[in-house]
């Protein structure tokens, strides 16, 4: 994506942001709250139309992108919450994710032709495989509402993976996870890069620094830094955006020691 700008009414949510996800890489997108990370994601998904800029995917410009075309293009996305279908079992949820691999049409379903059964069996196998990969196969028959949040997150990830995308967009996959679970997630993300590229929005710095090959930093809709994790960490503009201006460690320490009355 190059030169993406978005404004809602008079508010400029993004101005002239560019980033490129290289094949097989994990690209991190970070920034303080309200920096425009999710908006950029929504642009990439066709949920928000940019007022300027181009989105290019596999050397082709995507104009008038609609969210429903996304999976056909080989792009999957998870939502910031979990966005699971409450009335569907876990297995069915993941089967919906494999929608683009379904072949049997309306009339074979209407007449319950064996082709529809066979097609459904293939989808089910795919979905079960994805659940096994994420260690959630024992929940296949349950409804998502009754499951612990981390399990729901895994199911949502399975639903995105089962489409076998070339680009996986993860919107805060680690929110609500414990330290151990986050570690597992990091390993999983590294593991899938053999099959696909990943664009990751995340708040947990240690996870981002560990798994990402490249990082783009946004602040108030502006792109303030880009590069490898080490480069980004060393960039003073990034520290400033996250911690406010001029970090004076000694002054902070002195204030803490004196009891910090105006905290």
């Amino acid at each position: 994506m190059t030169g993406i700008s978005v404004s809602f009414g008079g508010v400029a949510a993004l101005s002239d942001v560019s980033l490129t996800v290289e094949p097989g890489q994990v690209h991190g997108l970070i920034g303080p709250n309200g920096a425009g990370k999710t908006t950029l994601f929504n642009v990439a998904c066709g949920l928000v139309r940019p007022s300027a800029g181009r989105i290019v995917w596999r050397d082709q410009e995507l104009r008038r992108l609609k969210p429903s075309q996304l999976s056909g293009l080989g792009i999957s996305r998870t939502l910031q919450g979990v966005g699971l279908f409450a009335g569907l079992t876990v297995l069915e949820n993941v089967m919906i994710g494999a929608h683009r691999h379904a072949k049997a049409g309306f009339f074979s379903a209407l007449l319950a032709l064996p082709t529809a059964d066979k097609d459904d069996r293939l989808l089910r196998e795919r979905a079960q495989q994805a659940l096994v990969e994420l260690g959630a196969e024992s929940y296949a028959d349950r409804y998502p509402g009754s499951l612990p949040y981390p399990v729901q997150k895994r199911v949502a990830l399975a639903r995105a993976l089962v489409a076998e995308p070339d680009l996986l967009l993860l919107d805060e996959p680690a929110s609500g996870l414990s330290e151990d679970e986050m570690h597992e997630l990091g390993e999983l993300i590294r593991a899938v890069t053999t099959r696909m590229s990943v664009l990751l929005v995340e708040h947990h710095m240690d996870l981002v620094m560990r798994v990402c090959d490249r990082i783009t930093v946004l602040d108030s809709g502006q792109q303030i830094a880009a590069g490898t994790p080490a480069e980004v960490q060393a960039n003073p503009a990034v520290t400033e955006a996250y911690l406010g201006d001029d970090v004076d460690v000694e002054a902070d320490a002195a204030e803490l020691a004196s009891g910090g009355s105006n905290a």
Partner: protein
């Protein structure tokens, strides 16, 4: 804006309740994880054909052991149930509320009436098929127009259909007979049917009985096809669109297309129901397709359990059999005829209110939720005993 879903469930809650209670009846999983043992055939087609066979036997038995009046009531039940089945798929599975299904039934009824006016009418199955197709086309047009609307807005738009369409029949009174409607000449039962009845029970094969059988056949075919859809990927996709439209869209589902498809399918059922209705009451008139008809269908599927075909059948049965039952009961208690007749809507209203308070998931939905809770408890108990011992 897209990320509407926030986590609400308590971690590790031991229930298996489907959280959307109102549509719990619709959520019978279309895919079981491997391992469950079952005596039913694996193939959906075989399984549903077994049910169809049982339904046919049951229909013949019921129609032959009951008197002609009950036969005509059962014919009435069949057209209510056909329309309710279509509506429950739309409302329960896809989450769209339509108040216009009475009008779509009118489309089917008038088409049937027009075709039967001919001196040499085409065969009955063909007429009913054409009625279904005409209603399907009208339904598809309405569906396309309404695809961007949700909930109350869709209900409003379809309400306009329910109010407006019967008006067309009055406006074009030369063709549609205006306020008086069109008399329908019910076709005579074929000889094969008379032979069949005399072979099975020896009852007289009257026109009423023939129409009850026509209704039953249409009902079985409709439910067979709808059940196939519900249990397939199509039904699953509809439920996904109902539960989380953004997530469904991201999975590659074109929301508009699938909503229109659901509306079209349910319009087809309504059209067939209208055709059967015209045959059974031998009249297609605007007064038969008021808003009350659409509302009755909605209450029927809500009482039975949204999204369940069995629920739609039960709700329709309540619609047909409760009023005469209550009227008889009132007469037994010494009320005069008018008072007894007024009792029926009152009792129906009370039943509806009681159901909404104590069983908001409808009959089938409530049973299903109980079953799920029971199973979850058993599973929890099993887990406890295995970890304790």
């Amino acid at each position: 804006m897209s990320d509407s879903q926030t986590p609400t469930s308590a971690a590790g809650a031991a229930t298996e309740e489907a959280p959307v209670e109102a549509t719990a009846a619709a959520n019978a999983p279309s895919a079981q994880a491997a391992g469950g043992r079952s005596f039913l055939p694996k193939s959906t087609l075989l399984r549903h054909l077994v049910v169809v066979l049982l339904a046919i036997v049951a229909a013949v038995v019921i129609l032959e052991i009951t008197d002609p009046f009950t036969n005509s009531q059962l014919a009435q039940l069949s057209y209510y149930a056909i329309a309710a089945g279509g509506l429950t798929v739309l409302t329960g599975l896809n989450g769209q509320v339509s108040l216009g299904h009475g009008a779509l039934m009118a489309v089917g009824a008038y088409t049937t009436a027009l075709f039967l006016q001919a001196d040499e009418p085409v065969p009955l199955p063909l007429i009913l098929l054409v009625s279904t197709l005409v209603a399907t086309v009208v339904g598809a047009l309405v569906g396309v127009a309404a695809a961007r609307l949700h909930g109350p807005y869709l209900a409003g738009a379809t309400l306009a259909l329910a109010v407006g369409l019967p008006g067309l029949a009055i406006y074009f009174h030369d063709i549609f007979g205006g306020e008086q409607g069109m008399r329908v000449r019910a076709p005579q039962p074929p000889d094969a049917f008379k032979d069949f009845i005399s072979f099975v029970s020896g009852n007289s094969a009257t026109g009423t009985k023939w129409l009850a059988y026509v209704g039953a056949i249409c009902l079985v075919i409709t439910y067979f096809l709808l059940a196939n859809l519900v249990r397939s990927r199509i039904g699953r996709t509809w439920r996904a669109v109902r539960d989380q439209d953004v997530a469904a869209e991201l999975a590659g589902i074109n929301l508009g297309t699938w909503r229109v498809l659901a509306f079209t399918v349910s319009a087809a059922a309504a059209g067939l129901a209208g055709g059967v209705l015209a045959l059974v009451i031998r009249l297609a008139a605007p007064s038969g397709f008021t808003l009350v008809l659409s509302l009755s269908l909605l209450t029927a599927i809500v009482l039975g359990g949204l999204g369940s075909l069995l629920g739609a059948l039960l709700g329709s049965a309540l619609l047909v059999f409760l009023p005469p039952f209550v009227t008889d009961l009132g007469a037994d208690f010494g009320l005069d005829n008018t008072e007894a007749a007024q009792l029926a809507p009152f009792v129906y209203g009370v039943v509806l209110i009681v159901a909404m308070i104590f069983a908001p998931a409808g009959f089938v939905g409530t049973v299903r939720l109980r079953w799920l809770t029971y199973r979850a408890k058993q599973r929890a108990a099993a887990a406890r005993s295995s970890s304790g011992g």
